[in-house]
Point group: C2
Chain length 132, copies 2
């Protein structure tokens, strides 16, 4: 296998997530080439953009995906408000949140300038044991 | 499990990697709490800082880790020069490189301002099949 380069916005898409008030620019990195067991995305949120409340838990009817997924959010530009389990937290550049599968969460750019996030997510290891 | 918040520089360390010319500020996110099968780090490279040439391949004497690891580098601030398999590539904000296990690579901040990278890495899936 060779090293693969992806340039900013090569794979950008605009998506509206879970009834969010404004769309988010989403870039998935190495979607077709990665052999890593997690996915990596970059979110670009203009002021007002939101990833609405959702969760990822296998076997639950309200889950937005069939499989369970832990999600890690890292702010790389600007700031956002993360709401998880009803708690609001302002996350600034370099701050991160680890959201376990099943936790209802949302992200909103309440500021007046663009924000960017890096998301890493996938099925947690040992998740069956964890939930017992 | 509850949502966990990590603030910028809560876990920052300064490290010199693989004979690099200057140290790198390294923050490992959720090292003790993550159940994801990959690791996430943020690198802060002042001008001149370098992650020297190295590779990760199980069973090879020159490998810098005992296990194989694919590594994904995403630039989130400034720019760096990635050298992989002898090829130099300038990576700017939003650009990324996917470096498969076994590929010799290095990263250098040749610019006159700080650069930041996000790294996601771990054992590739299906790596035995891949190397046949």
């Amino acid at each position: 296998m060779q090293t693969v380069i992806q340039r900013r916005d090569d794979e950008i898409r605009e998506r509206r997530f879970y009834a969010g008030r404004a769309p988010i620019g989403v870039e998935h990195y190495f979607d077709r080439t990665s052999a890593l067991p997690t996915s990596l995305m970059r979110y670009h949120l203009e002021p007002g953009a939101e990833e609405g409340a959702h969760f990822h838990l296998e076997g639950h009817s309200g889950s937005c995906t069939p499989e369970s997924s832990d999600e890690l959010y890292l702010v790389v530009e600007g700031e956002v408000v993360m709401t998880a389990d009803g708690d609001r937290t302002v996350l600034k550049r370099g701050d991160a949140a680890y959201v376990p599968a099943g936790v209802v969460h949302s992200v909103l750019n309440e500021s007046d300038r663009p924000a960017e996030l890096v998301l890493v997510f996938g099925p947690p290891q040992g998740s069956e044991e964890r939930q017992r």
